[in-house]
């Protein structure tokens, strides 16, 4: 068609057209160049951790090529995995993260559904308010929270500080606002007619949520779950401030407090601990990514 249109008018001047395939090739080359640079940049730390974790303390402090293991050993892994302390940290971290993710998803899915779909007075303002709370950094929050816990202790005698489960109240202050925000966005993208059809079909609000919204918004829920898990698993400041006894510590704080003694850094074990600690999120990502299929709403309405 385009050719016909050009030839009808007759060529009055020469126009140089770029070749589509040449443009695409150039774009691809540049994509690969930058992807390789980024991959190297981001993979270097974990690779270095892996290398160091396989070395003895003597080899780490020796002046040899730091990127090569001359006498590989699993000594660090064995000592950590047989240490009851490390396993306690791991257990605490796992419990905290799993419960926090559950609490977060229940609250944020319900809140997002209400804010996105049930039109009520002030819902738009509330939705913005939820996001604004996320903008307050934890570094600002932990001192007032500490004060509140101390106050609760004075008032009721319940000791909240230095218990791993107190983190279950703290982490949702970080995860709930953001996850709610993600879910509001996701729910808002579901066509209005879908819940109206469900309402007419006889579903109540709760049935509309569980039978229509949650299955349709599954990619969004998975994204929010991954976020909540990562935040809980990697959280450092709150457990550092609120837990002190060794048996109450979670992994990131536990590694730092037990493996750094004074100014002696046990690098081999620190690297091993961090590497093992990074494994669960990786496994969860790999597992959930399979379910993270975009375009689940395809076919609901006119495309």
């Amino acid at each position: 068609m385009a050719n016909t249109a050009v030839s009808v008018g007759g060529p009055t001047r020469q126009i140089r057209y770029g070749s589509v395939s040449r443009d695409r090739k150039r774009a691809l080359i540049w994509s690969y160049v930058f992807l390789v640079i980024f991959a190297i940049f981001f993979l270097m730390p974990p690779v270095y951790m892996l290398i160091t974790s396989l070395k003895t303390s003597a080899e780490i402090s020796a002046i040899t090529n730091p990127w090569w293991v001359y006498n590989p050993t699993l000594e660090n892994y064995v000592s950590l995995l047989t240490s009851p302390e490390y396993l306690t940290f791991f257990w605490n971290s796992a419990m905290v993260s799993i419960i926090v993710v559950t609490i977060t998803m229940v609250i944020s899915v319900l809140a997002a559904f209400a804010l996105a779909r049930m039109r009520f007075w002030g819902s738009a303002t509330l939705a913005t308010g939820v996001f604004l709370t996320y903008l307050i950094p934890e570094t600002l929050l932990f001192i007032p929270l500490f004060k509140i816990f101390a106050f609760v202790n004075e008032l009721t005698g319940i000791e909240l500080i230095n218990n791993w489960w107190v983190l279950l109240f703290l982490y949702p202050t970080l995860t709930v606002p953001f996850c709610t925000w993600i879910m509001i966005g996701y729910f808002a993208s579901i066509p209005k007619e879908l819940d109206e059809a469900a309402l007419i079909d006889g579903a109540g609000w709760m049935q509309t949520l569980t039978k229509i919204f949650i299955p349709v918004a599954l990619p969004g829920i998975i994204a929010a779950t991954i976020f909540a898990f990562t935040v809980s698993w990697a959280q450092f400041l709150y457990p550092l401030a609120f837990t002190t006894s060794t048996d109450q510590l979670v992994l990131p704080v536990g590694i730092i407090t037990t493996l750094i003694k004074g100014d002696v850094f046990n690098w081999g074990q620190i690297m091993t601990g961090a590497l093992l600690g990074a494994a669960p999120p990786l496994i969860i990502y790999a597992f959930l990514m399979d379910y993270y299929i975009a375009g689940l709403t395809a076919g609901a309405t006119k495309g």
């Binding site: 879908l194 109206e196 076919g299 309405t301």
Partner: protein, 366 residues
Amino acid sequence: MAQVTLRKVVKNYDQTPAVRGIDLEIADKEFVVLVGPSGCGKTTTLRMIAGLEEITGGDILIGADVVNDVPPKDRDIAMVFQNYALYPHMTVHENMSFGLRLKKVPKEEISKRVQAAAQILDISELLQRKPKQLSGGQRQRVAMGRAIVRDPKVFLFDEPLSNLDAKLRVQMRTEIKKVHQKVRTTTVYVTHDQVEAMTLADRVVVMNNGRIEQVGAPNDLYHTPMTKFVAGFIGSPAMNMIPCRLEKAAGGLRVTLSDGVSFPVPEDRTARYEQHLNNGQLLFGLRPEHLMDAHAHANPHQHPFDVTLEVTEPMGMETLVYFPINGIDICARVSPNAGAQAGSRLRLLADLDNMHLIDDTSGRVL
């Protein structure tokens, strides 16, 4: 099965009125089409019947019950949406049976009803597919199937064919009519397409600006419109409307369009029109099909006049010709054999038995 009654139904969005007091009786098993331009309040009216919009004033009755405050699920209605609104994660079977499963209808019963509806709509082989594997027409059938299996009191259709291409639209229009003839459920159907309205409806409700302009059988609306709006809205190409004067002449009345064109008013209308002799705001209305090419067997109320054609549009079975009178473009349907050519002169016949006289001030057809 049930009748639907609207009594002085009003809907305001904040201070903006969308529906300004509608009275309508829809009989049991009747197929009523609400038609009108965008923003006339037809979809709002339908959504109020469905219970998806709260009403500001008045009453809506389904059967004998006032349903103003009844939630949609308890109104026993089914709705087909413009964009289908199928549940994307469910198969066609699951989509159609969703409402029944919520009502805890026994499995065998569900299966029987879904099969029956699928047979009516000819989608039996699609039952295990997901909506994304279906074409637009098939999705629309599934949406209808979802409505049929519920066996509701009332079907509500919200512009169900607007998303389909022209050919499929005509096909689905026939399907909808067939389905209604089979299931005989009271149906309220919203469209902006007057052809759809005319072809489907037992009665058409023409709406404009939040009010009902006229309710009537398709042919009544076409032949005896009561307002200027209905006269212009129903029929394609639209009715020609030309400013005119009504004058007394020997033996009766005449309408004069311009210095050159003047027609005698048929005698049976003289008495009705006489009181408007001094009205300076009259329009002469005549549909394009009542302006035909001159032929030998004209009856006494078909009056010839000559025009110079500006544009001709051959449609195959007929040719639409356009020419100006008083600076207004007039359309006529002539035979393809009339030899109509742009720029040429043509003798036309105006069939005055089908003329309308419209008071432009009040918008009433006289």
